[in-house]
Amino acid sequence: MIEWIDLILLGMLALTALRVIFLKDLFAVVMLFGIYSFLSALVFIVLDAVDVAFTEAAVGAGISTVLMLGTLALTGRTEKENTHSKLLPILVVSVTGAALIYGTLDMPPFGNPDNPIHQHVAPRYIEDSPKEVGLPNMVTSVLASYRGFDTLGETVVVFSAAIGVLALLGIRREEDNNTPESGFKEHRVLQIVAKITIPLVILFALYVQFHGDFGPGGGFQAGVIAAAAFILYGLVFGLAKSMAVISPMFLRYMAASGVLLYAGVGLFSMMQGGNFLDYNLLASDPVAGQHYGILIIELGVGITVFAVMLTIFYAFASQTERSNIQ
């Protein structure tokens, strides 16, 4: 039964991707990409990757779509007719695809427990992490503890992406009165629905943040969901009001402080005489130390991801408003 769901979902995914090729209306392309992300989140659930599905649904279908629509508002919504011949790309793609399909025949069969990937490292995570780290969710244990240094790197990459976007676009804060009205002032129904939804979304983000040790979730997902709540506020009530709630400057400090909090835990454990990010030394009991360490670094990740996502949204939205003035 589960195989059939997998087959059908993957088939739908392939059709959605195929449709993107032929569409010239970029608005439809971006909407299809949102559908594509939702479908891949469903496939991830079928393949047991609940944490990944969570992230893909929040990021792919939520934030990416908003950013791409913001770009379309500035660059126009139709693709011009291409004058180049399509023959060469089709040839390149077919040859590469055929070679890759030939390569897949050498891969171990899907789902077999004896596959090489399940023989090394993973058994240790599955068998020992509940005892060593003391958390039911192995993904959080591996993410925050065993591979904590790796995750610190990822957090720094997310942080530097915000620096990149700020360097390229910047955020301008329009305080004079000639700023055009943004948001949906006349849509009362939309405003009331948004007002009801936003607190629930923030509450859910906090739940995902702090319950990530026990169920699916964690700092990455929580940060994105919380940012989505404020993005919704900004879209419905206008950018100026959203910036009055959380100013861009404050977000910059938040993004940096999240990374510093994470790295600070590492330095603190070094001062206690252990290795970088060795949480065992944070408390007298190693398992309790792991708990404290994971809670704090997940908080750091959540703060940075939230601040970076919202900063990027501010940068894109203020570009759109600027072009409206001109």
């Binding site: 991707a17 991830f44 990021v59 007719e81 899907f110 591996v142 990822e154």
Partner: protein, 118 residues
Amino acid sequence: MNLILDYYNYWIVVFLMMTGFYIVISANNLVKKVVGLNIFQTSVFMMYISMGKVAGGTAPIVVDDNTLYSNPLPHVLILTAIVVGVATTAVGLSLIIRIKRAYGTVEENEFEHEDDAI
């Protein structure tokens, strides 16, 4: 049928990857190219998660002792990759906005001089 079930996931991954690749090299519009890149990226995610699946297993959250779990390691790698992916996509899109402002177009065949071509 067994051959299909054993490799179906990987074949779809290759198909998605090639679709994304085709969009990147053939599309005229830079925003569409970014969508193509994202489709390509998602196909890689799909491949890692497919490899981590164990038939009859469940999500890697402890239930009791005798449960079969899927491999948690690919999940960790891909979870962080998705968030990094959206951050880098944002940088790419802001580059497109700057290109629009500098050249007045985001269509590849409309850059006027040889030097304008990207």
